[in-house]
Symmetry: C2
Subunit: 240 residues, 2 copies
């Protein structure tokens, strides 16, 4: 805890690192600080060596659970008061994180669902731009179902296209063709009935921002960044 | 240590946070990764609550030593194999950091001096754009003197202008007027005889990059980022 009573945020990151950088930048923007000391204290565990989450969920690779638990434990030892993770898909392994530390783990998924409920209360159908593992594990489907909100996925061919774009983004590409392709995947979901889009993968906002589609986009990275600032400053109590 | 034998980098940051973000981004660029797992493992302790370094060196504020030592110890506990700090001025307190952990601390100052010696071996005079505390503590002057290189500072009025710009950058300003003013301070040092400029404050590269002045600029943040990638991958042995 900081001397002024603010909480120290522990960030599980590196999934991938560019998304963690984006998250860090968004925390700084939302902090609206006028000097160094106005900013919140973050500890970022950026372990990009964590095994591929999509492969593990598909049963084709080793589990990232131990690496994620290792980051949570390291953040705990380093002094984090609560822990978040700047990756949606890895929330399929949140039990491993919760088991690794007694510190509260704030679910990005729950925060996004809460944001949709608060800012778009009449929404019945959201369109989900997320990695295959996130869809396969049903992470958002389960959370939104509790709110009576239906989750629309891209069709099989479009989802395969999404995964291709995802790995190109992770390799450092940010070209106009990737941006346009991601925007088109969003538009397909809108044509299928989505009232809002969920950037349910932290690589998505690296190439697509709200205002580029004909319906609003909820950026999971930005939601988590905003919430972290509020939780750290105790403007909002930590969810139990 | 990562499973492939790469070293885990511990980063003392938040001095300020925008400079730490810049450092993180530069590490990612220099990593030239094609997938998440190609990136290096970083743990970033971003504690912006650390007391003002310039005030402490001027005898007008409490020492940041304990906060810096606290970050070093936290990084050690979290599993860092070696430690760096994305701030020049705070190197005035490097003894407090070294005393807090047995892990190697890699001096940004030494890396910058080594970079100048390697890339600009005939340099006799460098122009230093750095915070007042960094000048008062003589950090670069001592290190460059060992190489027979003279360090030129801005005049008193220009240095006061530098500090004004520094705190405006820390407050989030990045306007064209700040960029131009920083470039002009660099040009004054060149007019006084500087053969190269040292961005010896990690806020400087947020508004001034190499190529904007009539002589080259050595960006301390970029030097440290490049060196960290090499040390982590063991392309270069850690200095003892």
């Amino acid at each position: 805890m900081s001397d002024n009573g603010e909480l120290v945020v522990g960030v599980i990151g590196g999934l991938g690192p560019e998304a963690t950088l984006d998250f860090f930048g968004k925390v700084l923007v939302h902090s609206k600080a006028k000097k160094d000391q106005d900013h919140i204290h973050l500890i970022i565990e950026n372990n990009p060596k964590t095994p591929n989450r999509n492969d593990a969920i598909a049963g084709k690779g080793i589990s990232p659970g131990p690496a994620l638990a290792g980051m949570a434990a390291a953040l705990d030892r380093a002094g984090a008061d609560f822990i978040v993770m700047a990756c949606n898909t890895a929330h399929a392994f949140e039990n491993a994180i919760r088991a690794a530390t007694p510190k509260p783990f704030i679910s990005l998924i729950d925060e996004v669902v809460d944001e949709v409920r608060g800012s778009y209360p009449d929404t019945k159908r959201v369109g989900l731009l997320a990695a295959q593992g996130c869809l396969d594990a049903g992470i958002y489907h389960t959370a939104f179902a509790k709110q009576g909100v239906e989750v629309l996925n891209p069709g099989e061919k479009s989802q395969a296209r999404f995964m291709e774009l995802l790995y190109r983004i992770k390799s450092g590409e940010r070209g106009a063709d990737i941006r346009r392709a991601m925007q088109e995947l969003g538009e397909e979901l809108i044509a299928a009935g989505a009232e809002i889009l969920i950037a349910g993968c932290t690589e998505v906002p690296l190439v697509l921002t709200s205002g580029e589609n004909t319906k609003p986009l909820v950026d999971s990275t930005d939601v988590l960044a905003q919430r972290c600032v509020k939780y750290a400053r105790r403007i909002k109590p930590l969810p139990v």
